[in-house]
C-alpha cells in the first residue's frame, strides 16, 4: 500500500519474499519492483534509491532518515532508518 504520491516507502499488506516482483501504481505512473529481501506483513520496502542521510517518506511526511544507502526494493526498518526525535543519546554527545 502506498499512501501518498510523495512516499518513498510502501507497506506490505501480505508477507512478501525476496525476489517477488510487484507492479505498483503511484499516482499516474506504474513502478515495477523486485524485492531484495523478505518483507513481513505490515512492514515496509523501498520505492526509490536513497543515499545515506535521506528523508524516508510515508503518509507524504518524513518518518525518519536513512542510515545507509537503500536500494529500490530493499526492506526498510530500524536497521536502516533512524528517528530524529526523542534522541536523548544524541543530546548526551552534544554536551
Amino acid at each position: 500500500m502506498i499512501l501518498n504520491h510523495k512516499d518513498n516507502v510502501a507497506t506490505a499488506l501480505c508477507h512478501l519474499e525476496a525476489g517477488d516482483i510487484l507492479q505498483l501504481r503511484i499516482g499516474e505512473r506504474t513502478l515495477e519492483i523486485k524485492l531484495r529481501a523478505q518483507v513481513p506483513f505490515g512492514h515496509k520496502f523501498s520505492l526509490a534509491q536513497m543515499a545515506p542521510g535521506s528523508p524516508v517518506i510515508k503518509y507524504g511526511e518524513v518518518i525518519g532518515t536513512s542510515t545507509e544507502a537503500i536500494q529500490l526494493g530493499d526492506y526498510v526498518h530500524v536497521h536502516n532508518v533512524a528517528s530524529a526525535r526523542g534522541r536523548g543519546d544524541l543530546a548526551k554527545v552534544m554536551k
Binding site: M1, L13, P40, G42, E61, H77, V81, S83, A91
Partner: protein, 384 residues
C-alpha cells in the same frame, strides 16, 4: 441518532450505572478491591499514587480522583482512605460531592483496620447500590456522548485503517454535536505540525507545541534514544520504525475537526467538540485520563491486541489486523477492512452504530471478561 443512558443530577448522562469504590492511595487498594468484590454493582478504582510525592503530583492525583468521581458512569462514590496519606481524602470527597452524587467515606486507620473497613465500606456501598439501582435508562440525543479515543499495541495496520476509521467516527460525533477526547502526547511527536493546523485558535496551537516539547524533553532528559520505549518493542515487531511514523498513524484517530482546547491530566473538558488531554499513551494512565475527562465510552484501536478495559467505562476494541482479530476473539469487538481503501466514511458509520449500542448497554469484550481493573494515575516527579 439517540442512545439510552442514565440521567445524573448535574445534567450529565451515564452509559453505565455503577457505584465507584475509589482508593485515595496505594495503601488502601486492598480494602478497595475487597469491598468491590463484596458488592454487586460496584466497581473499584485502584492505583499506585497518593503519598510521598511532590506538590504538583499530589495535586494531579487529587484532581484526577475528583474528576473520576464526576464521571457520569458512576451513580455514587465510596472513598477508601488509609488515613495518613499525603492527598486529603476529605478534599477529594468534597470535590466529588459537588457533582451532586452521593459520596461516602471509610478510613482504614480510624475504623480499626482492614476487616472493619471492608465490613463498613461494604454496608455503605450496598446501601448506595440499593438506591441507585432503581434508576432506569432514558433516551438521549447522541450529542450527549463523550467519546474517548485511544490506540494501543499498535502495528502499521493501526495507522492504515483502524485509526482512520476511529477518526471518521469522531468526525461524525462532532458533526452531530457530541464530544471526542484524544491525547497520547508522545504520539504527537513528529506529527505536531499537522495537529497545529487544526487548532481552533492560536493559543490552542501554541499549547499543542508546548505539550509535545515538554513530553519530548522528559524523554531526552534520560539520555537515551527513545526507540524501544517509543515506539515499543511490539510496535517495531509490527513494522513501525520510528516515533514519527507511529505518530502520523496515531493522530488520525482524532479525526479532522478543529481542536478546541488542550487540557492537563485529570482535568474535565468544558463544552462540546474535539479536545486533547496531555498525557503519555500508556494504557493504565491514559484510560484513567479519558475517564477523568468524562468519557462514557472509549474506542480503543489495536494492531497486536491490547486487552485493557476500564472498571467503569465500556472500551470497544477495534483492529485492522485480521490475524490479530482471529487470534484474540475474547478481546476484540470489531475488525476493520484493511484492503487498501482510503475512504473510511462507511466504516466510521458502522463503528458509530456500535458506540451507540454500547452506550445503551451492550457489553464490550473487555467488560464481559472484566479485564482492566488495574489502571494508574500519571505523575511527573519522583517518589520522595
Amino acid at each position: 441518532m439517540s442512545f439510552q443512558g442514565y440521567r445524573r443530577q448535574n445534567g450529565s448522562v451515564g452509559t453505565r450505572n455503577y457505584v465507584g469504590i475509589i482508593s485515595t492511595v496505594s495503601c488502601a487498594n486492598d480494602v478497595t478491591w475487597w469491598i468491590s468484590q463484596e458488592v454487586e454493582g460496584s466497581v473499584p478504582f485502584v492505583h499506585g499514587q497518593g503519598c510521598a510525592q511532590t506538590r504538583p503530583d499530589l495535586d494531579q492525583v487529587t484532581r484526577t480522583l475528583i474528576s473520576l468521581g464526576w464521571n457520569p458512569n458512576l451513580a455514587g462514590v465510596l472513598i477508601v482512605s488509609l488515613g495518613c496519606e499525603s492527598v486529603l481524602a476529605d478534599q477529594i470527597a468534597a470535590g466529588i460531592a459537588k457533582s451532586g452524587k452521593p459520596v461516602e467515606m471509610v478510613v482504614i486507620q480510624k475504623v480499626g483496620g482492614a476487616k472493619t473497613a471492608v465490613a463498613r465500606g461494604s454496608s455503605l456501598a450496598q446501601a448506595m447500590v440499593a438506591k441507585t439501582s432503581t434508576l432506569r435508562r432514558e433516551e438521549f440525543a447522541d450529542s450527549e456522548l463523550v467519546l474517548g479515543v485511544k490506540c494501543g499495541a499498535s502495528d502499521t495496520t493501526s495507522g492504515l485503517a483502524a485509526n482512520p476509521a476511529a477518526g471518521a467516527t469522531c468526525d461524525l460525533l462532532i458533526d452531530n454535536g457530541g464530544t471526542c477526547i484524544f491525547g497520547e502526547t508522545t504520539e504527537f511527536i513528529g506529527a505536531e505540525h499537522i495537529l497545529v493546523r487544526r487548532a481552533a485558535t492560536h493559543q490552542v496551537a501554541e499549547k499543542i507545541m508546548n505539550v509535545v516539547a515538554r513530553t519530548e524533553k522528559r524523554a531526552i532528559a534520560m539520555g537515551f534514544d527513545m526507540r524501544g520505549g517509543q515506539p515499543t518493542t511490539g510496535n517495531i515487531a509490527g513494522g513501525l520504525t520510528t516515533i514519527e511514523e507511529k505518530s502520523l498513524g496515531a493522530i488520525v484517530k482524532g479525526g479532522s475537526r478543529p481542536i478546541q482546547e488542550v487540557y492537563e491530566y485529570g482535568e474535565r473538558p468544558q463544552g462540546k467538540g474535539l479536545f486533547i488531554v496531555d498525557t503519555p499513551g500508556r494504557e493504565p494512565e491514559f484510560l484513567t485520563a479519558l475517564a477523568a475527562a468524562g468519557a462514557q465510552v472509549i474506542v480503543f484501536t489495536t494492531g497486536l491486541g491490547a486487552p485493557q478495559g476500564f472498571p467503569f467505562i465500556p472500551v470497544i476494541k477495534v483492529t485492522a489486523n485480521p490475524a490479530t482479530y482471529e487470534r484474540l476473539p475474547d478481546h476484540l469487538d470489531m475488525l476493520v477492512n484493511l484492503t487498501g481503501h482510503t475512504d473510511f466514511a462507511e466504516t466510521g458509520r458502522t463503528l458509530y452504530q456500535e458506540i451507540v449500542e454500547v452506550a445503551s448497554g451492550k457489553q464490550t469484550k473487555a467488560e464481559i471478561l472484566n479485564y482492566g481493573n488495574f489502571p494508574n494515575i500519571f505523575t511527573i516527579g519522583p517518589v520522595i
